[in-house]
Symmetry: C2
Subunit: 75 residues, 2 copies
């Protein structure tokens, strides 16, 4: 099973690119550093729920959307 | 906005009770201590994604199900 932080980071990046915003812009919206956002997108941080909430707010999506991955076979 | 750890803990407890299993049983399945599970259900821990993954596996649900809260108005 692929690392949950890798999957989360990939989903954050995907949603960011759909919204056509930069890592800098997302970092600003989330009140996080650009380096931290970059680390999260690469899956190199073990993210806490407080940070998950910041990404949901920054990307303007409900939290569960951040966990909708393409390999979920059970809809 | 209610604390994300409170919402997560409430959802874990709800899913555990639906499955009619004890905190001890869930702790065993997740390879966590019973006290830790109790803390998470009360929302007193800032849970990491590694721990979220353990709960998803212990409850046998996809991760996003743990973030489906009753106050999500956007389905």
């Amino acid at each position: 099973m692929e690392n949950i932080n890798i999957k989360f980071g990939r989903r954050v990046k995907e949603l960011r690119l759909i919204q056509n915003i930069s890592q800098e812009e997302l970092a600003f919206r989330c009140q996080l550093s650009k380096n931290y956002v970059s680390d999260v997108e690469r899956g190199t941080r073990n993210v806490t729920l407080k940070v998950v909430e910041k990404f949901a707010q920054g990307l303007k999506v409900p939290v569960h959307i951040l966990f909708r991955w393409h390999d979920d076979i059970d809809e």
